[in-house]
């Protein structure tokens, strides 16, 4: 429901109420005018009747069209009162409300009861007239509102729509691309546009600072690590080293490598957070899984793991290719690392769901914290506990639902996408 439609709807609703109340008021005003006119008319007739009684001096009751004169026996106080009555309409053959005047008139020292009734405009006609005119005016108003609404939404809101288009094309990754908002004379739109301009500029600025920082941090870490690594390698290749010394250097190298991987993985998590991977493309998940599995075939054979895979054909998703490959690699790596020699690895891909199952020792950490950074079962000390954190982060990015299940030495990771 667009904004203008909403406003129009509110306006239509409000005016309906106004017209309802307006109708009642118009009715009352008209009725009052008509009634007073009617009363004056009846009073004029009463004057004429007065004259008539003076002339004719009727002794019996006179019943005429809309008129009744009854001479009274005793003398009474003069009075005039009005009341409503219903009269059968001759042609329409239905009861119609009329105004009735009842009066006691003293003419020549004798009291007469006079009753006359009549109508200029009947009340139900007033109701009909008011209703009809109100409905007609309301319909005209409705048409006008709809017309104004569509014209306004087209012309007046055009700068707003153009602004929306510009924002839609906004990409945090392209700081060079400046946002050019349409010019508008409307104060609100001007404000909105200048606010958006400032905001996007700030977002770009902050983002580039953040990106630069994480890139520099990673670079600054990897450089000394690279120096250590190369020094160790040269050292190791030197002459006259004892086996013990070589072994020590080798272990140091392994630790250095882990440090480097750690920094890379943390950098990767930051990059995913910074939305640096946002080139969504159509990915044939079935084919990608098979390709990634291919890389592991040798390891699977070397570890004598029995692999069963049931990959449905032609399952496509829209995501960044690098991230999806990373996700799959980490998942399989995880299932391999915690697997036993002669264990099992089952992969299953069905539309909307990917399941990876592997044998392995019971978890000695809370399964709920499995996806947190640096959480790992100590059975595999060489891992850093970041693989599944990266998996989770990628799932979060694409709103995939990931769950973990452990039963009978089988570990199951299920991703619903």
């Amino acid at each position: 429901m667009n904004l203008l439609f909403r406003i129009s709807l509110l306006f239509v609703g409000a005016s309906f109420l106004v017209f309802l109340v307006g109708g009642v008021i118009s009715y009352q005003v008209m009725k009052r005018e008509v009634d007073s006119e009617q009363q004056r008319f009846l009073l004029e007739r009463l004057d004429r009747i007065d004259n008539m009684i003076k002339k004719r001096k009727p002794r019996d009751s006179v019943k005429h069209h809309q008129l009744l004169i009854v001479p009274l026996q005793s003398k009474q106080q003069e009075s005039i009162s009005f009341s409503d009555t219903v009269v059968m309409h001759a042609q329409l053959n239905r009861l119609e409300p009329h105004l009735k005047l009842t009066a006691i008139k003293n003419v020549n020292n004798k009291s007469y009861y006079v009753s006359i009734y009549g109508v200029i405009v009947e009340t139900d006609d007033i109701v009909d007239a008011v209703t009809e005119s109100m409905i007609k005016i309301y319909l005209i108003l409705l048409v006008v509102i709809i017309l104004i609404g569509s014209v306004a939404s087209y012309y007046i809101l055009r700068p707003f729509r153009e602004t929306l288009v510009v924002i839609k094309n906004f990409s945090i990754k392209e700081p060079k691309k400046e946002l050019i908002f349409p010019k508008s004379n409307v104060k609100e739109f001007k404000k909105l546009n200048s606010f958006l301009e400032e905001m996007t500029e700030k977002v770009h600025h902050d983002y580039s600072l953040l990106k630069e920082f994480s890139e520099n941090a990673s670079h600054e870490l990897q450089t000394p690590i690279a120096i250590i690594q190369s020094k160790l390698e040269v050292l190791m290749d030197g002459q006259n080293l004892t086996e013990e010394q070589i072994s020590q250097i080798s272990q140091t190298q392994n630790a250095v490598r882990r440090l480097s991987n750690l920094s890379n993985s943390l950098g990767l998590l930051t990059k995913i957070d910074n939305q640096e991977f946002s080139n969504p493309e159509d990915i044939d998940l079935s084919a990608t899984i098979r390709a990634v599995m291919e890389e592991f075939i040798e390891l699977i054979q070397l570890k004598s793991i029995s692999l069963t895979s049931q990959i449905d054909e032609n399952i496509h998703i829209k995501a960044d290719r690098v991230l999806i490959e990373l996700l799959l690699t980490n998942l399989i790596n995880n299932a391999m690392r915690h697997n036993w020699e002669n264990g099992e690895l089952n992969m299953k891909l069905t539309p909307g769901e990917l399941t990876i199952e592997n044998t392995g020792a019971q978890l000695d950490i809370d399964p709920n914290s499995l996806f947190e950074r640096f959480k790992k079962s100590n059975q595999s000390n060489r891992s850093m506990g970041l693989g599944l954190a990266i998996v989770k982060k990628i799932c979060d990015l694409y709103s995939y639902d990931i769950s973990y299940l452990q039963s009978n030495k089988m570990h199951t990771l299920r991703i619903k996408f």
């Binding site: 450089t223 040269v234 072994s247 890379n264």
Partner: protein, 225 residues
């Protein structure tokens, strides 16, 4: 092989220089882009080892010049920025390969040699070590006129050994060379051991000597007896 290393970390650069010099290759060092340009104008090199973040600019700018002026020069980018975009941009700008820091010097050596060989007009596609002859193009290994039946990984392994002969190759360096990023599984070193065992067996079955020496607790070395 004549190399030019563009790297602002002098210590690191000297390490690499020493490593290559030991094998009889010539490796010169430029600490800045300006220095690198100066050297490129004055001397001929086979392979350029290029760091991306340098004090006077980024290495990409140099790539443009190289493509223009020295199209025959092989380029290997060595960078601590393991950003995918950098890797792609570098390769698009005509670099031959991209090796993220930190790396094993043996790996750097193997990659630089591969670039050098590919760039040579009349490429030496046969590498030899004693009675072992390895043809890079056909991916075949002959020992005393007998063709070895090697798997792809075993071929890569003996290739890596021959390129880095007389040097200690750690199990880790071998594992990374063979499996790259996919290999950080705890038992990777056992797999290296199995491959080496098979390779030894095949070479010896063809009448070759066992040149692969085990260095306890560290790795292996291909060494003349």
């Amino acid at each position: 092989m004549k190399l030019l290393l563009v790297e602002d970390q002098a210590e690191f650069a000297n390490n690499i220089k020493d490593y290559f010099s030991k094998e009889g290759d010539v490796c010169e060092v430029a600490l800045t882009l300006a220095k690198a340009q100066e050297k490129l104008y004055s001397f001929d090199y086979d392979v350029l080892l290029l760091d991306l973040m340098l004090p006077d600019g980024d290495g990409f700018s140099l790539l443009h010049t190289i493509k223009d002026k020295w199209p025959d020069l092989g380029v290997l980018i060595i960078s601590a920025k393991n950003a995918l975009t950098d890797r792609i941009e570098g390769l698009n700008l005509g670099a031959d390969d991209y090796l993220p820091k930190p790396f094993h010097l043996a790996e750097l050596n193997a990659r630089a040699k591969a670039i050098y060989r590919r760039r040579l007009q009349n490429g030496i596609n046969v590498l030899a070590f004693e009675e072992i002859e390895l043809n890079v193009d056909s991916q075949e290994v002959m020992v005393k006129e007998t063709l070895l039946d090697l798997t792809r990984k075993e071929f890569e392994l003996i290739h890596y050994f021959i390129v880095n002969q007389n040097r200690l190759l750690t199990k880790q360096a071998i594992a990374e060379h063979l499996w790259g990023d996919y290999m950080d599984t705890a038992d990777s070193f056992d797999f290296v051991y199995q491959h080496i065992k098979n390779l030894r067996r095949k070479i010896m079955a063809a009448g070759g000597n066992d040149y692969i020496k085990t260095i306890y607790g560290a790795g292996y070395k291909l060494k003349k007896i």
